[in-house]
């Protein structure tokens, strides 16, 4: 049935995309926390944080974008969990279709839904004074890194959605991910942090991704950070994908 894999995946993705477009509240709840944080950091804390010549909204936007993705994938897990428990998964799996298409539909939908959220957050940031002279290539690079990060986290969401016992449990895994940017260079320069915290901040995935996006926005050379960032994204992606597939096989056999 692999001949139909793509057409089946397209049909199934159309279905899950409708779940997103018909419940735009999920996009709103996804973006509301990052936007509130952005307002708070820029207009309350930002004045007390020294980021050199860079405006604070420019400084913190990359971290806010990662928080947006981390909160967005909670809905990926929730949509998958709902499908698993409503019986529609069993209907699809008892039909002569490419079974993995059901899972890929959720993954593709996750990319689209998060992209929508990211566009909204960037729009608000522009209203708040975010400016970048970055060219098309730099923007494409930013987009590529954000999509890769979304894809990596989406497979983590797939594991959560497949193995959760309750809908709340399905989304809970995203809280630590939302918190991770606070222990990175996203909001304050890591040099101001005490030893062990600084060590953690400088060696966790978010910092390299944030630094890369920040450099791309500021039209600076990205240096070695981009390779560290890509290595983290691909590494998380591969590990999460393998575990998601193991979970999936166990679930459907």
């Amino acid at each position: 049935m692999t001949t139909y894999f793509f057409s089946d995946a397209v049909v199934l993705t159309g279905r899950t995309l409708r779940h997103v477009t018909r419940s735009m509240d999920t996009i709103i709840t996804t973006v509301i926390t990052p936007i509130a944080m952005m307002l708070m950091f820029v207009y309350v804390f930002g004045g007390a944080i020294d980021t050199g010549p860079v405006s604070y909204v420019n400084y913190m936007l990359p971290g806010i974008l990662l928080i947006t993705i981390a909160s967005g994938i909670a809905y990926t897990a929730l949509r998958l969990f709902t499908d698993m428990n409503s019986g529609i998964f069993e209907r699809f799996h008892s039909m002569p279709i490419a079974r993995s298409g059901v899972l890929w539909a959720h993954v593709l939908t996750s990319l689209v839904a998060n992209l929508l959220s990211l566009v909204v957050v960037v729009g608000v940031a522009v209203l708040m004074g975010f400016r970048s002279g970055a060219g098309v290539l730099a923007w494409l690079a930013v987009l590529g890194i954000l999509l890769l990060f979304t894809l990596a986290l989406t497979w983590i969401a797939v594991i959560a959605g497949l193995s959760a016992k309750t809908a709340e449990g399905g989304g809970a895994f995203s809280y630590p991910l939302i918190f991770l940017p606070f222990l990175s260079s996203a909001f304050v320069p890591t040099e101001t942090m005490p030893g062990p915290v600084r060590w953690f901040a400088e060696n966790q995935p978010v910092t390299s991704i944030v630094n890369t996006i920040r450099d791309l926005f500021a039209e600076r050379p990205v240096g070695g950070d981009i390779w560290t960032a890509l290595a983290w994204c691909v590494g998380i992606l591969v590990v999460a994908y393998v575990f998601a597939m193991v979970t999936y096989r166990r679930k459907i056999s």
Binding site: R15, E90, I97
Partner: protein
């Protein structure tokens, strides 16, 4: 004896969940075009049998074939031969009724999914509700849509797992009509139920699944012979509550909702 063609053949099926033995050697055959009822109380393993036959679950031991395809080794062929209506209405709540039908028709790679959907909406009296989201449907409407989705593609074998659980008497009779129509058209129907009257109404053959085994398997007439012959007694015939209910609401025709 020559191999006769069977729609479903089950031999020595065993399945455990951990230490809980659900099926302990189940055997039965279903003839093409017949209605076969698997009768059993809650937890008897009826759903487990259906899941194994529809390739959703692997058996620990024994063999099962559907349309002469082995469920373990020829799962793809089995899936092309069957349609499953699970215990809980497997419909998409966020899509409309029509979109649900179009979705299944497209996944079965049929031509003109829209026309197939419209035809089924008419047959199942859902035309008026076609463009409403399924989340607004009543239980009976959901079940009708669920069964309509299972008819797309004219699968030769249909599994109905407790198709009338949770339905009101009217909706229940509608489902019975549909099942009889299906069998009349040559479709093989395996249905599970815990309602004795449902099996009595519909099934050509009835098998009782109890503690992981089929303890009785036969036609209604054969099952009746298992008991001593009936004594003739004169008893005033009281209407059943179901008859009263249907008489008072004055209809047993299909209605929206």
């Amino acid at each position: 004896m020559p191999m006769e063609k069977t729609a479903i053949r089950v031999r020595g099926l065993e399945k455990s969940y951990g230490t809980l033995e659900v099926l302990r050697g189940v055997d039965f055959d279903v003839e093409p075009g017949s209605i076969f009822a698997l009768l059993g109380s809650n937890g008897a393993g009826k759903t487990t049998v259906v899941k194994i036959l529809s390739t959703l679950l692997k058996a620990d031991a024994g063999t099962a074939s559907v349309n002469d395809f082995d469920v373990a080794t020829q799962a793809e062929n089995v899936r092309e031969s069957i349609s499953l209506t699970g215990q809980f209405a497997a419909v998409d709540e966020i899509l409309t009724g029509r979109e649900n039908l179009v979705l299944v028709a497209r996944l079965r790679h049929l031509e003109d999914p829209g026309a197939i959907a419209d035809d089924l909406l008419r047959r199942f009296s859902l035309t008026d509700a076609a463009t409403r989201r399924v989340s607004t449907y009543s239980g009976g409407m959901r079940r009708r849509l669920d069964i309509a989705m299972s008819l797309i593609g004219n699968s030769p074998v249909i599994f109905l797992d407790e198709p009338t659980a949770g339905l009101d008497p009217e909706a229940r009779i509608e489902v019975w009509h549909t099942v009889k129509e299906l069998a009349g058209d040559g479709t093989t129907v395996l249905l599970t139920t815990q309602y004795l009257d449902e099996a009595e109404q519909l099934a050509d053959r009835i098998a009782i699944l109890h503690e992981g085994r089929i303890i009785v398997n036969g036609t209604l007439a054969e099952l009746k012979q298992l008991l001593p012959p009936a004594n003739v007694e004169y008893v005033e015939k009281q209407p059943t509550l179901e008859e009263i209910f249907l008489a008072v609401i004055g209809t047993n025709t299909r209605k929206q909702g």
